[in-house]
Symmetry: C2
Amino acid sequence: MQAVLFVSHGSKSPKARQEVDALAARLSASLAPVIFESAFLDVDKPSIPEGLEACVKRGADRITVLPNFLNSGRHVLEHVPAIVQKFESEHPGVVCRLLPHIGSHEEMDRLYLDLIKQTSC
Amino acid sequence: MQAVLFVSHGSKSPKARQEVDALAARLSASLAPVIFESAFLDVDKPSIPEGLEACVKRGADRITVLPNFLNSGRHVLEHVPAIVQKFESEHPGVVCRLLPHIGSHEEMDRLYLDLIKQTSC
């Protein structure tokens, strides 16, 4: 069974956490009945291993991990992949697939330009 | 004359910096002849005041500031606005307008779902 784990950085700001939770709830509803869990690299909980574990407990054996990051910093290139690989090595029946980070989506440029054009002074 | 200042967080990762620079170059080309500058809240340079100053030196008196952030954490809600407001108070002839952060664009949900659907296992 497939699952999606949505991985955000985590923030000290309650407002940022509310936004991520609301976004995760919308994505979960859109993807249902696919198993969907949300996790955080740092600051917030659940952690990435906890999120992966939650997917497995719900019956997932294929987990698609979506990094909610704008750029290929060390979090995207090193930290998240290392955590996912460690989990995979400890769970031989589970296959994880790491998606590109959201900032790499080909339509992002258009969204930046659209924001500027919608609201410029 | 109008300008756009593109404000990113800044990163210790050279790859992330390259991505932001490439994105800024594409946005600049798309918005030409509008003055376009890129700046960073932390880690990288130019700083936000340096970026705003660069816009003014190029003749801008209206500066649209686009925060390249996914969530309304303290950077978006407090740090960037405070820096922009301080600059405005020190430059009475210049009007700055702070746009919503990119993560708040109404089409973001669709991009997350699209990434998942394009590439899920």
